[in-house]
């Protein structure tokens, strides 16, 4: 992970940080639902479609599900600014040299903590907007069985340090939450570039240099027998909104952490609501797992480029060292104990 950081993240983080240290609240885009905002005139491309091109960042302080004890849909602006300040102070806390915590990289030092990223002000108390209570809907019986079976399989596979395959997909550089889809922010490096060509929209996710190529020309879906970690995406324009439908997932995808199945149908909607805000809304329709579809909304904030090559797998010393360390620990434990045990 340190290597990943040094190769790409630090550079990108720094570049973004220097420009975006300005107070967050002042840049905020009022949450949808607060009335009275003048209609935004979206810039357009020669083909007449709205122009979403550029660099974006979806860093957020808002949790997917509404925190316990909160029964409101929105915080006040003052509350959110206070929360962000508090979080920034916590993330900015320095580790003590010589301690184990200090071995890990320091987010603030490398421009990685969220306060140094462009953050769109979000007054919502949860990213989930539907159901209205801000929580995932109840799971179906089949969903519960599926997830219990997954948990059981993980247990059978052993400790996460037993084999590379037992580690989370992110540690293996296969898929990160920024890639999704749906694309959700992680702790740092939530950088995206959108390019639009006729018939094709491409979203380049900096993490794992993941290119999402989305045809918007009515190309038929892939046959159900072809499954992909990032699914298969098809786009279309619904007025000024880009709608992307994704299916053909495998069981190996980040969103399984929330419990989704490979049969999930994901619908993402991008709408540009101001020069520096792209509203991202997604709906998960997975009747095998959830009793009803659910939706979440995250504003993306205009950022600056460039996107760096995030060669995660190529520099994944941390995974080698994690496993090697575990084997070394076992060896030492064996040497300490009497052979009879």
């Amino acid at each position: 992970m340190l290597r990943r950081l040094l190769v790409a993240t630090a550079l990108a983080g720094f570049a973004v940080a220097i420009v975006h240290i300005a107070p967050l609240a002042a840049q905020g885009q009022a949450a949808r639902g607060s009335a009275g905002a003048p209609a935004y005139k979206v810039p357009r491309l020669p083909d007449g479609h709205p122009d979403f091109q550029g660099f974006w960042n979806n860093t957020t302080y808002t949790p997917l599900e509404r925190p316990k004890g909160i029964d409101r849909e929105f915080f006040t602006k003052e509350e959110v600014v206070e929360q962000m300040k508090r979080a920034a102070a916590e993330e900015g806390e320095q580790t003590t040299p010589g301690t184990i915590a200090d071995v890990h990289y320091d987010f603030t030092q490398f421009g990685l903590d969220r306060s140094q990223a462009p953050v769109a002000l979000n007054l919502r108390t949860s990213l989930i907007v539907d159901p209205a209570d801000g929580h995932l809907p109840p799971m179906t019986e089949e969903g519960k069985r599926l997830n219990a079976a997954r948990a059981e399989a993980r247990k059978r596979a052993g400790a996460i340090t037993d084999a590379a395959q037992n580690q989370p997909l992110s540690v293996r550089c296969i898929l990160m939450d920024r890639d999704g889809p749906p694309m959700l922010a992680g702790a740092y490096n939530n950088n995206y570039q959108i390019v639009q060509a006729p018939d094709t929209v491409m979203i380049l996710v900096e993490m794992l240099h993941s290119p999402r190529i989305i045809p918007t020309n009515g190309r038929p879906a892939l046959p159900a027998s072809i499954r992909q970690i990032e699914g298969s995406s098809r786009g279309r324009w619904d007025g000024d909104t880009l709608v992307i439908e994704t299916t053909n997932f495998t069981d190996m995808f980040m969103f399984a952490a929330q419990g989704a199945s490979a049969d999930m149908k994901l619908t993402e909607r991008f709408t540009r609501t101001s020069d520096d805000t792209l509203m991202y809304r997604f709906t998960v329709d997975d009747p095998k797992v959830w009793t009803r579809p659910w939706s979440a909304e995250v504003p993306w904030k205009k950022s600056i480029g460039p996107i760096f090559e995030h060669a995660c797998h190529e520099g994944n010393y941390s995974l080698t060292n994690l496993l090697r360390g575990a084997r070394e620990d076992e060896k030492r434990a064996r040497e300490k104990k009497p052979a009879s045990n």
Partner: protein, 282 residues
Amino acid sequence: MGDWLGRASTTAVGVIAAILLTASAGAQTRAAQPASPQPRSGAYRAPRTADGKPNLSGIYQAITEAYWDIEPHSAAPGPVQELGASFATAGGLGITDGPLPYKPEALAKKKENYANRIKLDPEIKCYLPGTPRGMYMPYPFQIIQTPAYIMIVSSYARAVRTIYMTDHKEAPADSWMGWSNGHWEGETLVIDTTGFNDLSWFDRAGNFHSDQLHVVERITATDADHLSYEATIEDPQTFTRPWKIALPIYRRLEKNAQLLEFNCIPFVEDLIYGQLRKPSSN
């Protein structure tokens, strides 16, 4: 294979070059649409994008044996005996303009790379292919063209190249795919790429470069379905002089042609990390 070049005496170089020229001329007459190193101007005018530039958008793939070895090479058994003929080396005429002008110590390293290619070839580990290797691997790639950025995305390992058409700058950091500044010269997209690390190879035969690599590519549509691809390779740390590769690249004509995911990391984890797996016998 390829090693024979190292044994070639100085006097033989000219002969070999002549053979190569003949061979490549032969290949061109056989190809339906030959890639001529210098496309005749006015020979073909590509359709235009909204901003009036030749439109190179599409899904393409090289058809060549050069991914085994960019130099002329005979067919040979593959490096993995168990895979028999299905992973044997296909003979190829090569895509270079002559024997690679390695410095003596670099040639020694190339031979060592070849001898240890199963251990050392970055492709086997699902590492990013580098440039130009990503352009002639046996995988499709897609060109997504906009005025400011031209993206070249390979299906292999999701390798992405961003060609900066307006915001030219010096590479801010070394990388596998390099930092590419592009411009148009009439019908030709010219891409100047630097900022490489020294980790990628040119092929499966151990041909390699240093971080001083500088690649200038010239991509020209020769008709609706073919690109002429030419690259000048310069790396004073590894080679005595610049050299060139040239090959045609073909549009994938299937109606539903599209890049499928080739996220190969899960395929190589046992290879890379298997020896660190906890022994199953407790």
